[in-house]
């Protein structure tokens, strides 16, 4: 008896945008996107066999820069005001408050945000990476390799299936039904009988 294959979900990234929080997981057959909406998770999937493009780009992330810049600026102005106003303890306190915002702002300006975008058939996943550039590159290679493997596997399966059908003397093209075969259009129902039918004969008297 073989052990059941466990569908391990590996967290590969997360994105906190204005109003939405997303988490990205790598699973055996694709990428799962968990969009956290209050206390509910909306799960979407991009399967490896349907990925058309994987792109990699770098950007600043204007909302983040605006947020951290505004707070850093405000606290720095307060620090300067306190410093020149003769209350160094308050200046130190506001300076400490400004530090995380300032560090985040400067780090983003230096490193920027690397984003891997996976374009599926219907949806796309944008996985951001702040300072883990090497991890982003490794993930890009991993997704590309897995996608190529999945797509090669399907191509091989289709080729083998076509070969076996051809060997059995069944042309593969014949088996595919026309597009309207699976769901033929329904004839419109009308209560009135068609005009070209002969009129019904009168019932014989009892």
């Amino acid at each position: 008896m073989t052990a059941p294959v466990r569908n391990r979900r590996l967290l590969i990234g997360s994105a906190n945008r204005i109003g939405t929080r997303e988490r990205f997981y790598l699973v055996a057959d694709g990428i799962e996107i968990d969009e956290i909406d209050h206390y509910e998770i909306n799960r979407r999937r991009i399967f490896f066999d349907e990925i058309r493009f994987v792109t990699y780009h770098r950007r600043f992330g204007v909302p983040f820069l605006a947020f951290t810049g505004l707070f850093a600026g405000a606290f720095l102005v307060a620090t300067m005001a306190m410093g020149f106003g003769g209350s160094p303890e308050a200046a130190v306190f506001t300076g400490i408050l400004a530090a995380p915002f300032l560090v985040s702002f400067v780090l983003r300006l230096i490193y920027r945000l690397d984003v891997i975008t996976v374009h599926g058939k219907r949806i796309r996943a944008q996985i951001p990476f702040g300072i883990k550039k090497r991890q982003a590159r490794q993930l890009l290679a991993e997704i590309t390799n897995r996608t190529r493997q999945a797509q090669r596997k399907i191509a091989a399966e289709i080729a083998a299936e076509t070969k076996s059908l051809t060997a059995a003397g069944i042309p593969a093209g014949v088996l595919s039904p026309p597009e309207d075969f699976a769901h033929p259009p329904e004839a419109p129902e009308s209560e009135e009988p068609p005009a070209n039918l002969p009129a019904a004969a009168p019932l014989p008297p009892e």
């Binding site: 967290l11 509910e40 349907e50 058309r52 944008q126 595919s176 699976a182």
Partner: protein, 205 residues
């Protein structure tokens, strides 16, 4: 470096710029460095080749009288199997493979609606979020911690079980921290209530 043109207004897959999100002609995007015609942003693209698996359906008339069992939904199609739940004959068009089962569309819809088919579920409760929310609520309004604290611990255990079931590797530490804090706040609330009750009974005597 390739520079894809603006996407033609045709239905189907449209490649959108990863920078600005506006549509581009995916046919002209090649592997390598590309730039968007709208925002002039650069991006590296890797072009892959998804293959649509063809659905082959044999018709009853082609199969001959011996090998012809008609599909329950499509009378002209030869059935290629039975539903794993209700046993109805189904052709390749009707066959849905999910979570190691082969199902007909009706059974797939039913199991998805019931929530018993994990692969068909798209909405899941965020137990980790509920746990942390209840813990914060307990901190903010300690008198209700007697109820919200145990509830946070309950949902925390459910969240841990869910993570174990789906084999997730993240978020367990956060759930444990929330549960420990919830337990601490609940204990504190019980202690405070005890003190109040003791003081109150002393005052009555």
């Amino acid at each position: 470096m390739s520079s894809p043109a603006e996407a033609p207004p045709v239905p189907g897959f449209v490649f959108s710029c990863p920078h600005c999100g506006r549509p581009l002609d995916g046919e002209r995007v090649q592997t390598g460095l590309c730039s968007c015609v709208h925002c002039q942003g650069f991006f590296e693209a890797i072009r892959l080749s998804p293959i649509q698996r063809p659905i082959r359906v044999m018709q009853v008339a082609q199969a001959g009288p011996e090998g012809a069992t008609a599909c329950a939904n499509h009378e002209h199609n030869v059935s290629t199997g039975n539903c794993g739940r209700c046993g109805v004959f189904m052709c390749n068009l009707c066959k849905i493979e999910s979570d190691g089962m082969v199902l007909c569309p009706a059974c797939f819809d039913r199991l998805t609606a019931d929530g018993t088919l994990p692969g068909g579920r798209n909405k899941i409760r965020d137990y980790a979020g509920i746990t942390s929310g209840l813990t914060i609520l307990s901190f903010l309004f300690w008198p209700i911690a007697i109820v919200s604290g145990p509830a946070a611990i309950f949902y925390g255990f459910r969240g841990l079980r869910k993570k174990k079931e789906s084999d997730e590797n993240d978020g367990r530490f956060g759930i444990w921290c929330s549960m420990i804090l919830a337990a601490a706040v609940t204990t504190g609330a019980i202690f405070l209530f005890g003190l109040i009750f003791a003081g109150f009974s002393k005052a009555i005597k």
